[in-house]
């Protein structure tokens, strides 16, 4: 029985903790492979919960009120989550 396992992109080097770069990209359709050294996009550096929050935030047009309704949380709780993500973005920009 095959079960689909959802793989997570590692956020940093599991060995030394340094920033990870993308070395190889491939096309499933034609088999083309691209080898190089590519920077990880910032949004991929966030954990899955934060990524979901950001996507939902965009889909609601930036409405914290709608986000609170979707997530069944209070407005200040959702605002605090957004502020935490903003802080993570600032930290990421500082490091990079």
């Amino acid at each position: 029985m095959n079960t689909l396992v959802q793989k997570r992109i590692p956020q940093g080097c599991p060995s030394c903790g340094s920033r990870i770069k993308v070395k190889k990209l491939s096309c499933d359709q034609c088999g083309t492979e691209i080898d190089g050294s590519f920077d990880f996009p910032m949004l991929a550096a966030f954990d899955p919960d934060d990524q979901t929050f950001i996507i939902n935030f965009i889909k609601t047009g930036g409405s914290l009120k709608d986000m609170a309704s979707i997530m069944k949380l209070s407005y200040p709780t959702v605002r605090n989550m957004l502020d935490a993500i903003i802080e993570k973005v600032k930290q990421w920009e500082k490091k990079n």
Partner: protein
């Protein structure tokens, strides 16, 4: 269930918490007036009976002083955009467990204890009154600690303040609010009550 008891503000804030909180406050004031229980910003005590409007004044002033102080503290110490309705609403909601304190007076025989507190007599209680006093004190302390814990969660969530900064600003703000409200009660008692 645990979250609703100790941090309901993850799920409720704003207008909803304000309406429910004020309804709770109204009930607390009515129940406490029937047993001469007086509330401050955080303090609870028996005192002489006063007109109903004074109980309302105490309840509203206690809530408003803490709300105003916490809102000012939030504006000074928090980098988040704070809504005033969240601060006042969650603050009102946090006081709901005080309903239990107001109900105690209907359940336990507090006649001699109230008389002692109101007339500031020296302690002259029988064994059963002492036992009742111990139970009332214990329950009141537990509920008061619960209310203060809820007020902390309300402040922390609505102002997005955590850690040492949040704790210190909360503690100092609470003390300032209690002082201001007691001063206000003093002036009202001496100028408006016969």
């Amino acid at each position: 269930m645990k979250k609703w008891l100790f941090n309901p503000f993850e799920f409720i804030a704003g207008t909803k918490s304000l309406l429910i909180g004020l309804a709770g406050l109204f009930l607390i004031i009515l129940l406490s007036s029937l047993n001469q229980i007086h509330y401050g910003a955080i303090g609870i005590h028996f005192s002489k009976d006063t007109p109903l409007w004074f109980y309302f004044a105490q309840g509203i002033i206690g809530w408003l002083t803490t709300g105003i102080i916490f809102y000012i503290a939030g504006k000074i110490f928090s980098s988040s955009s704070i809504r005033i309705i969240d601060v006042f609403g969650t603050n009102a909601f946090a006081r709901i467990p005080d309903i239990l304190v107001s109900l105690i007076a209907f359940i336990l025989p507090l006649g001699n204890i109230k008389s002692m507190a109101q007339n500031k007599n020296s302690l002259d209680l029988g064994t059963s009154d002492m036992a009742t006093l111990i139970v009332v004190t214990f329950v009141t302390v537990i509920i008061s600690v619960w209310v203060i814990a809820l007020m902390w969660k309300a402040y922390s969530t609505s102002c997005n303040l955590k850690g040492a900064k949040g704790a210190w600003s909360f503690a100092i703000g609470l003390i300032i609010a209690e002082i201001i409200s007691e001063i206000a009660f003093y002036f009202i008692r001496h100028n408006c009550l016969v």
